[in-house]
């Protein structure tokens, strides 16, 4: 083994030795696999239109030029946030399936402040709404965290329940406080509460883009720094990778579980605010449906292998195919078919870990081959 390592060191370093590259390649392979699978679905449902529809998906946001890209960025921002939320908790060894509930809670808090708190100065209104969203999300995330830390309740179960409580609770609150009776949805927020477009609409004319994507980017960087550069991140990762060793090292594991869920909740809650404080004609519907952005966040996190930068890229990608999906309606595909294809890609995204394993195995085998070849040469 040692000699093999030395051999490699002497020659140029293979790209397969860099873990980040392997991660990236495996995610790309997962995406390709998902796209192929999606194509098969398209082909079964409508052979003649399959090719056109599929190229629409591939082109995604780019099909409509600049405005499409703007749309993609707008769609990507909230799911990057929920992806970060799931990925962050995952690094601590927690499976935050409750991103949906946190997202909904955050969204309502943002809308509530946006509609009701007119007394705020116009510059402050939007910021207050964002903070309200983070607080609500954090509150929602803290419940499973506390239950896990102090009563050892499995966070998956408690956060699924929090999803339902969030959905029905928010529906009730919308009806009571910010209800638009005619459209069965939340009232529009005051324009001062909407996120600033900050000139981005000049760059991407004809789209709903606003500073949301920048907020998401900043969050990605912040989470990256927390996880990889700080003492707090070190503790979180230690707890995630080995709870017993963390306890042995004197790390307060309970505190870290709660904090991790609170931060995860904050990120999801902020994602909710980004979606609805947008002046894009998007309102909170009073429906018995759990916010899909939360579940999309799980896929985004898986596809991005829970690394903040990976999550940013995979969030953009999901945004991209979502735009492509809606463009596919031109080819007479039912919206359900589009959802199915996205789902297929997302499912295959979860396979990226499998691909990682395959790449590593393949690399090792080829290494062995070259080694034996070398040895043969040496013998000659």
């Amino acid at each position: 083994m040692k000699r093999a390592l030395k051999n490699k060191g002497a020659k140029k370093k293979s790209i397969f030795e860099n873990e980040n590259t392997v991660n990236f390649i495996s995610s790309v392979m997962a995406v390709i696999c998902g796209l192929l699978f999606g194509f098969i679905i398209l082909f079964i449902s409508s052979p003649s239109q399959a090719y056109g529809g599929f190229s629409m998906i591939i082109q995604g946001g780019f099909a409509d030029g600049i405005s499409g890209i703007g749309r993609m960025l707008y769609i990507a921002a909230p799911i990057i946030m929920t992806g970060l939320s799931v990925g962050f908790a995952f690094k601590t060894g927690l499976f935050n399936i409750g991103a949906s509930g946190q997202f909904t809670a955050g969204a309502f808090a943002a809308v509530f402040v946006g509609v009701k708190c007119n007394f705020l100065p116009s510059g402050m209104h939007c910021i207050a709404a964002l903070f309200a969203a983070m607080a609500a999300g954090a509150l929602w995330g803290s419940v499973p965290g506390l239950l896990k830390a102090f009563f050892n309740v499995n966070e998956v179960i408690s956060s699924i329940m929090m999803n339902y409580i969030g959905m029905y609770g928010v529906n009730m609150l919308i009806r009571r406080y910010v209800y638009d009776r005619i459209k069965n949805q939340s009232m529009p927020v005051k324009s001062a509460a909407n996120l600033s477009k900050a000139g981005l609409d000049k760059i991407f004319p004809g789209s709903n883009i606003n500073v949301g994507i920048l907020i998401a980017a900043v969050s990605v960087i912040a989470v990256h720094i927390i996880l990889h550069k700080t003492v707090f991140g070190y503790e979180l990762k230690a707890c995630g990778k080995n709870k017993d060793a963390s306890r042995y090292a004197g790390i307060n594991e309970k505190k870290n579980i709660v904090l991790s869920m609170v931060i995860a909740g904050m990120l999801s809650g902020l994602g909710g605010a980004l979606l609805y404080l947008s002046d894009s004609g998007k309102y909170m519907q009073v429906l018995d449906i759990i916010a899909p952005e939360g579940f999309l966040g799980i896929s985004v996190a898986l596809l991005g292998l829970s690394e903040p930068l990976g999550i940013f890229l995979s969030g953009l990608f999901i945004g991209h195919i979502t735009v492509g999906g809606s463009n596919m309606q031109l080819f007479d595909f039912a919206p359900e078919a589009i959802d199915m294809i996205i789902a297929a890609i997302v499912y295959c995204g979860a396979l990226s870990l499998l691909f990682k394993e395959i790449i590593n195995r393949f690399y090792k085998r080829s290494l062995k081959k070259t080694k034996t070849k070398q040895e043969d040469k040496e013998k000659l």
């Binding site: 093999a4 990778k241 080995n242 090292a249 790390i251 062995k368």
Partner: protein
């Protein structure tokens, strides 16, 4: 042919790693043949090949001079090969009888179990070897020594002629070991051939006729045990000279550093006392060994001292200060080092790299962080320093993922981390478990170095050799109580064994301080 087993030029590879590299083993009929080697030398792999668990890449196996193909353990059984594994393969809620006949049950019509014949045969066998075993006792209720006898009976019940014992003495008291060796000799006299895997030279001397030595997957040689000294055997095993004697400075123990007073810990399930009124002291400049058979409360005692579990009553003092209720962090900061029993569970975060593991107990200190941000340069520098000082070997130095490192180097990493914090008291639980002779020597040397610089060392060990060699004082634990407190010079290994098995106890609860 007078060889019953011939394994010729066996090579077994796992990926790039050759676990067995051209090994030849020949066993005569009716002999006890020891297979000697350090951990990872390839002993178990070779036996797994013989037992049909692995298929070798190269080589052939002959039984009674005939070439055979062993594809699975059933083939091996048909050829009369039986094995007592290091970790027994018994069903805990079966009776002794049921365990022995498992897989070879006699049944009458409609599959109803018939045990009369089997019972008679097993009773005859156990009488012949003086096993004194209750066939209707449940496995979970009998001692480890008895469980081993069940495994032996199982092999004899199947009329196996070739018996493999994989490190059979690891879990036994000296008395049980003596009996086991007696039984092995009796079996060999009856014409059965025995392969005895071990890395303990004393046992080879006592039991074996010939001995084959493996080192790092290679065959080193076969020797006649009677005419070869232990020193030669160990040199063959390790590849260099090993000193058996431990050099210690002559110092008088000073003030008490760690004191445990009337510690009681109750089991969460049964409410039984796992620790029953345990009291002792460890003074500066002495190594106190807690001897005893695994599972007599040693782990729980250490958990209670280090804070991984809260005792139900009693106190722990460090330098005269009551630290019973303090957090683990506080204890560690006030000078308690803990080399844990299970380095994979507690000692290391296996998926962290080496440098991250080396700062696991100090990452929050000023040296490694500023305003909550880790100082990676300082960490890396520190890790390189420890790697050099403690000779920790790994593929990528400070950046190696610890999971991929060898057990010995993992343990060195734990020891480096704990000792470099300059602790007052070092608590080490089985620090050399599963390590090869070289690493054992090194770690003992390090612990004694701490003692010589007037630190207090508390060592939990199940290995009597270790206990006798390096301790200044021995405390024996049996069923959660301290049943003896001796200086190593005042007691023989045999006597210690009697205390460990509960057959003997000295009055008071560790009161007779030396």
């Amino acid at each position: 042919m007078d060889y019953i087993i011939e394994m010729n030029h066996i090579t077994k590879q796992f990926g790039d790693f050759k676990a067995n590299d051209d090994i030849t083993l020949k066993v005569k009929k009716g002999e006890i043949h020891a297979l000697l080697g350090e951990n990872g030398a390839g002993k178990s792999t070779l036996m797994s090949v013989l037992f049909g668990l692995y298929r070798p890449e190269q080589g052939e196996i002959k039984i009674n001079g005939k070439k055979v193909d062993i594809n699975n353990p059933n083939d091996a059984n048909k050829l009369g090969i039986g094995m007592v594994h290091q970790h027994f393969k018994l069903v805990h809620n079966f009776t002794v009888l049921e365990s022995i006949i498992l897989g070879r049950e006699d049944t009458s019509l409609f599959g109803i179990l018939k045990t009369d014949k089997a019972r008679k045969k097993i009773l005859d066998l156990s009488q012949k070897y003086n096993f004194k075993i209750d066939l209707d006792a449940y496995i979970s209720d009998i001692t480890v020594g008895m469980q081993q006898r069940v495994e032996i009976l199982k092999m004899l019940y199947c009329d196996n002629d070739i018996l493999i014992f994989d490190e059979p003495t690891a879990v036994l008291t000296p008395q049980e070991i003596e009996q086991l060796i007696k039984v092995m000799k009796q079996l060999a006299d009856e014409g059965k051939s025995i392969i005895f895997i071990t890395h303990k030279l004393n046992e080879i001397k006592a039991a074996a006729d010939r001995c084959s030595v493996l080192r790092k997957g290679k065959y080193i040689g076969t020797i006649d045990v009677k005419t070869t000294t232990k020193e030669v055997m160990s040199e063959m095993m390790v590849g260099r000279k090993v000193s058996f004697t431990v050099k210690k400075k002559d110092i008088k123990p000073g003030a008490s550093i760690l004191e445990v007073k009337n510690l009681i810990l109750k089991s969460k399930h049964s409410g039984k006392n796992i620790l029953n009124d345990v009291s002792f002291q460890v003074r500066e400049g002495e190594i106190v060994c807690i001897a005893g058979i695994d599972g007599n409360g040693q782990s729980e005692l250490i958990y209670s001292i280090t804070g991984l579990r809260q005792p139900d009553s009693g106190q722990v003092f460090l330098n005269g200060r009551d630290i019973t209720k303090e957090s683990i962090r506080k204890k560690s900061d006030s000078g308690m080092a803990h080399i844990p029993e299970d380095r994979h569970k507690h000692g290391l975060v296996l998926d962290f790299n080496l440098q991250e593991n080396l700062i696991l107990k100090t990452y929050y200190s000023k040296r490694f962080q500023k305003n909550g941000f880790l100082k990676f340069d300082a960490i890396n520098e520190y890790a390189d320093e420890l790697i050099k000082n403690f000779d920790i070997r790994s593929g990528k130095g400070a950046y190696s993922i610890v999971r991929g490192m060898s057990g010995g180097n993992q343990q060195k990493a734990v020891i480096a981390r704990e000792l470099d914090r300059n602790p007052e008291v070092i608590i080490a639980v089985q620090p050399v478990r599963g390590l090869d002779v070289g690493a054992v020597e090194y770690i003992h040397h390090r612990l004694i170095e701490q003692r010589d610089s007037e630190k207090a060392v508390l060592l939990v060990s199940f290995e009597l050799d270790e206990v006798m060699d390096i301790s200044d004082r021995i405390i024996v634990m049996y069923e959660g109580e301290i049943v003896g407190n001796f200086k190593p010079g005042d007691i023989t290994v045999e006597e210690l064994g009697l205390y460990m098995s509960g057959a003997k106890r000295s009055g008071g609860n560790g009161e007779n301080k030396v």
